[in-house]
């Protein structure tokens, strides 16, 4: 049987800064900040000793935990010669170590909601959630390791408890522009949100990070893209250059995000250049897109001619909802161009 313990894959620190954390009178411990050769922060780690107790039985656990710079649990490993065991002193197997990593990495684990006393550690957990058995067993079965339930519980709370906010505070104190850059360029979505919040909170920072932020907006995390859009500072949206960049991005993102962007656009007074870009249609536009675009157009004080041309092209759509809406919108605009009026007349005759 394979009994390979996990080993951390994180880079070894060049130097370390140690911090003492006092959660309360009885919970005091040290976390270490790992730094690279340029003195840039990498991650936090803690060499843990903790007893795992239930009723009057305790057994000691020696383990190392690693967190990212915002206190999100990354992974664990062990000091030399230390392992984990289950209730009957059976050592953890390969799959147990893997499962423990999943459990500790799950911020939304049910272990958060339960008290230690509500957990039942039995080798054979019952199926079903009927009257006689407990409600906890089935729901929690997937989220604990049989025979090591209290270990899972204790370790989960160490990994995901107060330490997270404590670590965040420390990082807050050392965060600078270099770190924000590194955050935006990383693969860690927690870092992305943190950096966006910081930069949007200080709009004069925006110019320096504009490219990176717009990259994230058009990136592959739709949830982050929506967040960026939702929180985009109003002051920045007045800028014509920013508007044009946003419309260029609009053309290449997913449909879902396009709808959200159009919602946002309807709150902005656009430059003529940006509106020209917006009125370049594409094959795949459906009725909803047109509906949202016409809302944007209706909020503008002035519209370039390109908008009228775009709408007149929509008159030829196979979808009657598109052609009807385009026609109605053109009526409101009252275009003077003869060829456009001809298209409108042709449409109404059909």
């Amino acid at each position: 049987m394979n009994k390979e313990k996990p080993i951390s894959k994180l880079p070894k620190p060049v130097s370390i800064k140690t911090f003492t954390i006092e959660e309360n009178d009885t919970t005091i411990y040290q976390v270490n900040l790992a730094l690279d050769s340029l003195n840039q922060p990498l991650y936090y780690f803690r060499n843990i000793f903790t007893p795992v107790c239930y009723t009057n039985k305790c057994h000691p656990v020696y383990i190392n935990f690693y967190w990212d710079l915002l206190g999100n649990f990354i992974e664990y490993d062990f000091p030399p010669d230390k392992i984990l065991t289950k209730v009957d002193h059976d050592p953890f197997q390969d799959e147990d170590y893997k499962k423990l990593l999943d459990i500790l990495s799950n911020k939304n684990s049910l272990l958060k909601a339960y008290k230690m006393e509500e957990l039942v550690d039995t080798k054979s957990l019952n199926n079903g959630v009927d009257a006689v058995t407990g409600a906890t067993l089935k729901t929690i079965k997937n989220e604990v390791i049989d025979g090591a339930v209290y270990t899972c519980y204790t370790l989960w709370h160490i990994a995901n408890g107060e330490v997270k906010s404590e670590i965040s505070k420390i990082t807050e104190g050392i965060a600078d522009k270099t770190l924000l850059s590194a955050f935006l360029e990383s693969d860690n979505h927690y870092y992305h949100y943190y950096a966006i919040d910081k930069i949007f909170g200080q709009p004069d920072l925006f110019e320096r990070f504009e490219e990176l932020i717009l990259q994230r907006l058009s990136g592959d995390n739709i949830f982050l893209s929506k967040y960026i859009l939702e929180n985009f500072p109003g002051d920045l949206l007045i800028d014509a250059e920013v508007q044009e960049e946003l419309v260029k991005i609009f053309k290449k993102v997913s449909y879902n995000l396009q709808i959200e962007m159009l919602e946002k656009f309807s709150t902005i007074q656009f430059s003529q250049e940006a509106l020209k870009l917006l009125s370049e249609s594409s094959e795949s536009e459906n009725f909803k897109i047109l509906e949202k675009k016409t809302k944007v157009f209706s909020m503008q004080k002035e519209l370039p001619k390109e908008v009228q041309i775009y709408l007149s092209n929509c008159l030829e759509s196979n979808d009657y909802r598109i052609s009807e809406l385009a026609y109605k919108t053109l009526i409101d605009i009252q275009p003077e161009d003869k060829s456009i009026r001809k298209k409108m007349d042709h449409f109404i005759q059909e």
Partner: protein, 603 residues
């Protein structure tokens, strides 16, 4: 008007009807002779008045469906196709073509960007034969759907787009204005072939009643069939009246979990065999009950439509059991019903919300993947829900939590949209896993995705008693308590994380199990309070929404069916209605559901 004119007029009308008939040939796709890889979807029947064919290929184009059509003569015709774009984000993947006599018409249907069911022109075609072969050619395997095809000689004619008009048109075209075929006179007509209905039919027929069991799918079992694959929950060994639970046990094929990729684990065949062994039980599969006939407050007959041929049948009965889940028969009959949540002010229940609302538990389309020998690919799905490293569901198969509905969709009128939303969640999430987690998923392939939704909640028909949370918690033993229920009060709600990322379109649920001690469900919850001869069994019985959270599991529902079957026997024996059993013959009913213990004489 004189005789000659009358005759001429009649003659002209006759010509007009025949000509009109000759002008159009109307084909419901579900009646195609060869379905190929397409399947019949009847879930929206009550909304659009028809079933349709669905190309359920999970991303792999399915084999053509085809049929031969008799045209009045060779020549030029115009083609119309009824379809919708089910995922217009911006244009959906349900793409298909029509093939006439092996020649594919160069128009792609199903990607119009419009999600309404509409007729689309297929242009014109010319044929040298009177008999032509028409095929549906699926292009993507992603749920393209075609409801009907119309072939007409008239260039100017556009088939009616609106639902009302189209319903009338369909009836004319299919000749449904004629009376339905008589399917028989029965003591008990059970509508719905899930656990509840199947048990009701068996239980009644074993006591000698002539029973009809009407089911709108090709298999029995409902949510426990291989089409939906939800496992049976609820205990049958805690019954106060120990005769209940036996038929459930006969039909129980064991517990394969939810969404097991092996179809036969769910025992479709077992259920069919048990039903077929009953001599006085007539089974009518693929028949959707769509209308009722009443006399005063009593049902006289149910009309059912074959989901493939659209032939209508009339089932006459003395008593009826609504085991449809949706409470369809009750609804059609004008029974008092409730849907959604009552307020705590109204019911006094602590788990009820402050205000009454439309919230119902959701509908699941379970799915499973299997490991293959080599790497396999999954197509791009930009029209599906989008996921990222930040949020996705990292599982190779689903369990009960994959669930859409809640307060966002109506489980009856928007059943199709719910099912389609589940598709978008499943395919979008799967696409993410395939692309971004190759270590675990490169060799995995979607093996099964339910296209029939597993509904949890819709209407509840009201009886002489409405079961409440307090009945359950107090374990009140009413004189007419019959089925013993054991499941927790299990009320789902949108998973918090899922809600964070998909607000208003959640597809993943959480629950909180509230433990109960075994309690009995009163018989008065199993018949309608205002329709004289209507029983209920299943999720549509007379409970509050909170109490439904516990009664809804399928073994419990099966036992309700058993009880209804026995009650129907008492109705027949004494020529009374269901309420009459409670009022005057409760002792006999209780005797039937109790174990007959040997009496030791003291003499």
């Amino acid at each position: 008007m004189n005789m000659k004119k009358q005759i001429s007029l009649i003659f002209l009308l006759f010509i007009a009807t025949v000509t009109f008939g000759q002008e159009h040939v109307f084909i419901e796709t579900e009646s195609f002779e060869e379905k190929g890889g397409w399947v019949i979807d009847q879930q929206s029947f009550d909304v659009i008045g028809s079933s349709y064919l669905l190309a359920h290929g999970m991303g792999k184009p399915v084999k053509n469906a085809s049929t031969s059509v008799n045209l009045p003569k060779a020549g030029k015709y115009y083609l119309w196709v009824r379809t919708r774009d089910w995922a217009p984000y911006p244009k959906g993947p349900g793409k298909f073509k029509i093939v006439i006599e092996e020649q594919s018409i160069d128009i792609v249907f199903g990607e119009s960007g419009n999600d309404q069911w509409l007729w689309y022109s297929g242009g014109e075609f010319e044929t040298k034969n009177e008999n032509v072969k028409i095929s549906l050619e699926d292009l993507t395997g992603f749920e393209g759907r075609c409801d009907a095809i119309l072939i007409t000689k008239s260039k100017k004619f556009t088939p009616p787009q609106g639902n009302e008009e189209l319903l009338k048109f369909r009836r004319e075209m299919l000749g449904l204005t004629d009376a339905p075929k008589e399917a028989g006179k029965f003591d008990l007509v059970v509508v719905g072939g899930g656990m509840a209905g199947t048990c009701a039919a068996i239980s009644a027929s074993r006591l000698g009643l002539k029973v009809a069991l009407i089911q709108n799918r090709p298999v029995l079992g409902g949510n426990n069939s291989s089409e939906v694959r939800v496992h049976l929950m609820g205990r049958i060994d805690k019954n106060h009246y120990t005769k209940l639970g036996r038929i459930v046990r006969e039909l129980d094929n064991g517990d394969p979990g939810n969404g097991n990729p092996i179809a036969k684990e769910y025992g479709d065949l077992r259920k069919l065999e048990v039903v077929n062994a009953e001599k006085s039980l007539s089974l009518f599969l693929n028949t959707h009950a769509c209308a009722v006939e009443k006399e005063g407050n009593n049902l006289v007959a149910v009309i059912g439509r074959d989901i493939a041929t659209n032939q209508e049948y009339r089932f006459e009965g003395k008593t009826f059991a609504d085991c449809t889940g949706d409470g369809t028969i009750g609804y059609l009959a004008g029974a008092d019903f409730r849907m959604g949540r009552e307020s705590n002010e109204e019911t006094g229940e602590s788990y009820a919300p402050e205000k009454a609302d439309d919230f119902t538990l959701g509908t699941s389309n379970l799915w499973a993947s299997l490991e293959r020998d080599s790497v396999c690919h999954f197509p791009e799905v930009p029209w599906a829900l989008q996921f990222s490293d930040e949020y996705h569901i990292d599982e190779p198969k689903s369990d009960w939590q994959w669930e859409t509905g809640f307060g966002n969709f109506n489980t009856i009128t928007e059943a199709e949209q719910i099912r389609d939303h589940n598709f978008r969640a499943i395919y979008g999430n799967w696409s993410y896993l395939k692309k971004n987690k190759p270590e675990e998923y490169a060799k995995r392939e979607l093996a099964w995705v339910a296209y029939i939704g597993g509904k949890r909640e819709s209407r509840r028909i009201l009886g002489d008693h409405i079961l409440t949370q307090m009945d359950i918690e107090e374990g009140k033993m009413y004189p007419d308590g019959c089925v013993t229920a054991t499941w927790t009060i299990d009320l789902h709600f949108p998973n918090a994380q899922n809600s964070k990322y998909f607000k208003g379109e959640e597809f993943f649920a959480s629950t909180k199990h509230i433990r109960v001690k075994p309690y009995t469900i009163p018989y008065r919850c199993l018949y309608s309070r205002n329709i004289g001869n209507l029983f209920m069994a299943g999720r549509d019985i007379s409970t509050t929404h909170v109490a439904f959270g516990s009664t809804r599991v399928m073994k419990t529902c099966g036992m309700m069916g058993e009880a209804v079957g026995y009650a129907a026997y008492v109705c027949k024996k004494y020529n009374v209605n269901p309420r009459g059993v409670y009022e005057n013959h409760l002792d006999e009913f209780i005797k039937i559901i109790s174990e007959d213990l040997p009496v030791l004489s003291s003499e």
